[in-house]
Subunit: 198 residues, 2 copies
Amino acid sequence: MKASGDIEVLIALMAKLPGLGPRSARRAALHLIKKRTLLLNPLADAIFAVAERVRECLICGNIGLSDRCDICTASERANGQICVVEDVADLWAMERATVFKGRYHVLGGFLSALDGIGSEDLKIPGLLQRVADEGVNEVILALNATVDGQTTAHYIADRLEGAACSVTSLAQGVPIGGELDYLDDGTISAALNARKPV
Amino acid sequence: MKASGDIEVLIALMAKLPGLGPRSARRAALHLIKKRTLLLNPLADAIFAVAERVRECLICGNIGLSDRCDICTASERANGQICVVEDVADLWAMERATVFKGRYHVLGGFLSALDGIGSEDLKIPGLLQRVADEGVNEVILALNATVDGQTTAHYIADRLEGAACSVTSLAQGVPIGGELDYLDDGTISAALNARKPV
């Protein structure tokens, strides 16, 4: 590469984005430079606006434009249910399904002995506090069906034992549109074990 | 998606980058917000620096920090050869090969009757001017081996007929590391036609 300093810095930073490697970061940077008024300047403004204004909700860990996010301050949402997710991306995925009308709690990761991530590194204490304070009657654990996700789910369920709320988790089974032939054994056993009368 | 305004704008802009779709743009935007000091702020600075300072070279169409790019002003590069490329990305690819020591000329695209791109939309007049003015003795057409690329190459060769310089193009054949079994018929015929004594 024979790009001048500023461009090299831009490429190096863009290569750190998930989904972009060195080669696609180069392409993206050149595309930005070509589309200066259409893309480069608006993107600079958008990144500055986000850097300036976006912050984490002090209650649930979602991101928004103030210390309390839109979902925590929405009066039309039910107070009794908290849906626990790993990440803001998962919160958005739940919201796209438009079926959950309660509040959220974003953990910010999963427990992981290997990476030295304990419950204090996640927002688990905050969750326990909210359950005690807010009169919550159901905690829905919407965590990934991976080892780390399920470990974290079990840990939270343990910590909530004795609290005056039920703890549920997302159902496991065949995804909508799924073909049995392409599903792994674990999913098929889970779906069989949780079978329902038609 | 339930992202607040600023974040949605950022995601929409990032989704316009080559290699990023709506889903990966979302991931990238969240990644940026998470890595605020490590990535978001430096990226904002880098984009502003590029927007402020990077401009197109008035001679060859390369990008750089002034009206004459590093390659056009480099005294150690040969004046007699001009390598014609479509794009700055192609110029960088040539430079990574570190074998060409002359100057470049960036066309900014290919001729395309379908898209209404004629020679005046590309930097072909500038190239003809340079050939006349700079005492060039070889024009190397390093253009893609695609229909548009080769059409453009033939057009330029036609326009340069009668000029006091030779016009060459990159050799076509088996790429280094290439396996015959995986090569298309066109490449194999080109390589066979251009066979050399060992």
